[in-house]
């Protein structure tokens, strides 16, 4: 079986969904823990140059979550509900509080590849194409987003 060592991403042209696939060296149970244990989750959700503070966390079917990411006095908050926390599947809603009307439905499935390896299938269904494209274009962690917005305009104009 091919190894998906780096994340594969697909933005569906017909449905406002972002799909990602990636392989991990770890069991599905470990992946589940890394997604449901707040201390573990805060360690990797990142980005690198931000701290993540878990404000609310109840990783059970019907539970909810909220975390705050900060850098240089700036804060970004995210919240959602755990719609389903199964044995190898998590379904949850996701809202960036800076755009409180937007909500995405995220489904994460951990496929056991055997030999202590797991393939993660993640999909984020946004409520509009605009919402999805805003997600794709967001990237405060890189700190150079303003510049990219300009570059996007150049590309959109077909000049480049």
């Amino acid at each position: 079986m091919n190894v998906i060592a780096e994340a594969i991403i697909e933005a569906d042209p017909k449905v406002p969904v972002i799909r990602m696939t990636r392989d991990f060296k770890g069991t599905p149970a470990q992946l589940m823990s890394a997604h449901t244990d707040p201390d573990l989750f805060a360690q990797w959700v990142g980005p690198n140059n931000m701290t993540t503070k878990i404000d609310q966390w109840d990783a059970r079917t019907g539970g909810s979550w909220r975390f705050i990411q900060g850098r240089d006095g700036q804060e970004f908050s995210f919240r959602g509900c755990f719609h389903e926390v199964g044995s190898n599947r998590i379904v949850q809603t996701f809202t960036y509080e800076g755009e409180p009307d937007g909500v995405a439905l995220e489904t994460i499935v951990f496929e056991d590849l055997g030999d202590g390896r797991t393939r993660m299938h993640a999909s984020s269904l946004c409520d509009s194409f605009e919402g999805r494209d805003a997600w794709l274009q967001s990237g405060m962690e890189t700190g150079v987003n303003e510049g990219y917005a300009k570059l996007d305009r150049i590309l959109a104009n077909g000049a480049a």
Partner: protein, 119 residues
């Protein structure tokens, strides 16, 4: 496209002057002097910015009649596939952190197994 090539492009474009140069070159090729006229900085400083862009493969200065003009390498942006690639890159960074967490979990579990065996 190799990750280090991408990060070189990203860091080259992280500077507002260099982004402005790219913006200008998207309209048409320009000589270094034409570019420099837009900025209140020494010609030397303009050359320095151009060198960063050139080394990242964002622009080139093809051989030809003097003064040589600076050209935007459009295929760089094709390769980047714009925002999807950026998003993917951020996801990949996140997953590398998750790799590290998983590795630590596995190490802890193995240590525990060893301790239980020793008991």
């Amino acid at each position: 496209m190799a990750a280090d090539t991408l990060s070189r492009i990203f860091s080259a474009l992280a500077d507002p002057t260099r982004r402005d140069m790219v913006d200008r070159l998207a309209t048409a090729d320009a000589t270094v002097n034409q570019l420099a006229a837009r900025y209140e900085m020494s010609l030397q400083a303009v050359y320095k910015h151009l060198r960063v862009l050139e080394e990242a493969g964002v622009v080139s200065r093809p051989q030809g009649p003097q003064p040589r003009s600076v050209r935007l390498e459009a295929e760089v942006f094709d390769l980047m596939d714009s925002w999807i690639e950026r998003y993917r890159r951020r996801a990949e960074e996140r997953y590398r952190r998750l790799d590290a967490v998983l590795e630590a979990m596995t190490n802890d579990e193995q240590k525990e197994q060893h301790n239980e065996r020793d008991r």
